[in-house]
Amino acid sequence: MNTLLNTLATRLGFHNQQPPFSFHGGLPLNPNKRALGESIVEPPLPPYLIIPLINYAKQSLTPTVAVGDSVRRGQLLAAGVVAPTSGKIKAIKPHATIHPDTLAVNAIVLHCDGEDKRGNPSASDNPQELGGASDNLSRLIKLRSSGKQSQMQQLVDQFALSGLGGAGFPTAEKLLGNTTPVKTLIINAAECEPEISCDEALIQSDAIDIVKGIDAAVQLSQCDQCIVAIEDSKPAAIENLQSALKDKPTAAQLMIIPTRYPTGAESPLIECVTGKYIPHNQKPTDHGVVCINIATALALWHALDNAPLDSRVLSLGGQSMPNPCNVRVRFGTTVNFILHSTGNNSVVNDHRIRAGGPLSGFDLQNLSVPITAHTNCILAEPRVEITDAQACIRCGQCADVCPARLLPQQLHWHAMADDLNGCKQFQLDACIECGCCDLVCPSSIKLTETFRYAKSQARFRDTLELKAVAAEQRFTEREHRLEQRALARKRAIEERKKTIQSSSEPDREEIKAALARARAKRQPKQSR
């Protein structure tokens, strides 16, 4: 009866009044976690790794190593980037990355020596710096409370921590760099997208270390409460987490949330856990909410234990994957190598290989691209014919499922007309590209594709505008400089004229003679 009433209430648009709150939009999807097996597969080390020199904000990084250098596992290669294994740097050159358009960025090609030797040569000089995990944690907390920002940053840089969810935002900044006090720390174990089960697999195998990581995150962020949010479709993982949380007393509480895509995305999750909807132009931290992925919490624990983040677990799934599983791979391993080393090489030639989930991912054009911190899934799907989209009848089903509360039908109208200002008015920036609208569109319109395109157009236009503004500024500054220079010259001439006029007779004679000499010198040149 109660559930019936609840469904009726949500159908009529009333939201839950206690946690877990319901969020706007979304879809109940079949989890379809094919990759979830007994254990996590550990493939051998690849012959070489490709490490893109780019950070989460798409800024290119300057390498701190040179071609020919030997590096050890965990050694810094650039700000926030560590070597995933030991070996020799063969080249630093542009290489294709996981990107809808296979964008090439500058990357380090690291030939692995197979020994996988750990240790940062520079840090091993003073071994007392290498304490245990709890030492590192208390050091960090001490540094934080005493306000030694630069020392703290130095320590944090060695962790090479980035979010293992989707965006790859630097985790240390989330936990330590807050100006407003953190009220709620949310550990995201929702993993809402079908096919993806890497976090679930980690919880099943490593729950105890995960809880240690969560505890570290609680201490670092100094939050009032910590909530671990997990979807109710993962009973085994929930049980593991519950018993691990019982063993280690922490401030963290488990919250079981309904299975509804995309609860795992940041803003729907925050809405689900706290009941607060955070508009897209505000940051969760402004509201005292910090959200990190559960795999990131585990990586935090390992990093405190002097094992910087250099690998991740990802799911191999999809309809055509012959051997679906979760694999632990080093960053920089190519998709091709992963498929071959897990016995999935048969799909390479005649299937679509997709990076990211069935909804939020995209098809890869090139399989020699390296995986990074935010590659959570590789799918193999049969090639299908693309059906032509019909006209939009503005039925509004897309708006009903949009978790960002947008009007996709209006956005589509403006995006198709290349009206970027119109897109901005309808808040295209808030789109999280979850793909719910595509799924329900009765006219099979590829809305998300259109929005990604419009977003890239808007970004391009913004950079052009920035460049134009900078050019204008340079121009006006140059004009000003020239003006000043001309003024100064004019003043100097006047001054000299004045001194000449005021100078004595013999001086003038001398000047006249000098002028005559100069003229005589110039004469032959003119006659030529």
Partner: protein
């Protein structure tokens, strides 16, 4: 640009395409049409078929002229729905050639000049209706009371509509006197003659006529509820139309007819559930839909009560279509 395709196979979610939606709308119209042909005349089915067929032909022609592939445009079924709605909106006795003119204007000026489905600012069926109303006002206001057309005979009616035979519809040669055709027409006549005419034969026939129209509208309401249940339409527009109309009638209405007869006569129910809810020409957000629907209801009341036409919902919908871009601009984000 890479094609980013969604894996519909990988996820199970309700998927419904545009053609299915249009088929559901047609299905929802069936009870209304059935009662209509029982109460008034089966000629309405012929009208609907003629309008549907000619609309498809005109649509194919227009799409060809625009240089696009014709069949997919027809397949979505939107023009079929519009044609049936137009056929239901016009008086059943309207000559076929005039109906064809209406369909032609509906397809060409209501839809295709703007670039086909999804791009038209006005409801195509209502554009066709308005053009007919202005061009052929006499025939467009010639309604018959329930039963009148049955007595005339089906064949002679078709002959009349084709312009053959000895009969002419406009001059009432087939039928004696057109009194109390629709309750709304009677209300208008009363109002124009400032009569307070209760309790005589007119009122009796009016009651009979009103009950016929009541049944027709109840059947359309049934179809509308079916669409709501199937989630083809949302509740906002029909509820707003009927509510604002009812409230204004209670506050400002002067007619002697009971309120339920006013709501269930004319095309208010058909318009509220089937025509105003056309998503292409209605507001996008739920709040916008409430505003849009209230506007339609208010304008319908205004035209019925103070205007020169017995029924106002067609013009009300067209006028509110005009406001949709403004409503959409003001309400850019649903909450």
């Amino acid at each position: 640009m890479t094609r980013i395709i969604l894996d519909k196979q990988a996820v199970t979610a309700p998927t419904r395409n545009t053609s299915n939606i249009m088929l559901l709308v047609l299905a929802a119209l069936v009870p209304g049409i059935a009662v209509y042909s029982y109460v008034i005349s089966p000629i309405v089915v012929i009208n609907a078929l003629v309008a549907m067929f000619s609309a498809v032909v005109f649509e194919l022609l227009a799409v060809k002229l625009r240089g696009a592939r014709g069949w997919p445009a027809v397949q979505d079924g939107s023009i079929t729905v519009a044609a049936v709605l137009l056929a239901l909106a016009v008086p059943p006795g309207l000559p076929f050639w005039q109906l064809l003119v209406g369909v032609f204007i509906m397809v060409m000026l209501g839809k295709q000049v703007y670039g086909g489905l999804g791009n038209n600012p006005f409801n195509p069926a209502m554009v066709g209706y308005a053009a007919l109303m202005i061009s052929f006002p006499q025939n467009m206001t010639l309604w018959f009371a329930p039963g009148e057309l049955h007595s005339a005979g089906f064949v002679s009616l078709i002959e009349a509509k084709l312009g053959m035979g000895q009969t002419d519809i406009g001059s009432n040669k087939v039928w004696d006197g057109v009194t109390a055709a629709t309750p709304l027409e009677q209300v208008r006549v009363w109002r124009l003659q400032s009569l307070d005419d209760n309790g005589n034969s007119t009122a009796l026939s009016l009651a009979f006529s009103a009950s016929g129209w009541l049944w027709i509208n109840l059947a359309f309401l049934l179809g509308g509820l079916f669409l709501l249940y199937k989630k083809v339409i949302q509740w906002h527009i029909p509820v707003a139309v009927v509510t604002s109309f009812t409230l204004l009638t209670l506050l400002l209405g002067q007619s002697q007819i009971p309120l339920y007869q006013l709501v269930f006569s004319g095309a208010l129910i058909l318009g509220a559930f089937f025509i105003a809810t056309d998503p292409v020409t209605a507001a996008a957000s739920n709040r916008g839909r409430l505003i849009f629907g209230s506007g339609v209801g208010a304008l319908t009341f205004t035209i019925r009560e103070f205007g020169g036409y017995p029924e106002g919902i067609a013009f009300a919908i067209l006028l509110m279509n005009l406001c949709v871009p403004l409503i959409d601009y003001l309400d850019r984000r649903p909450d």
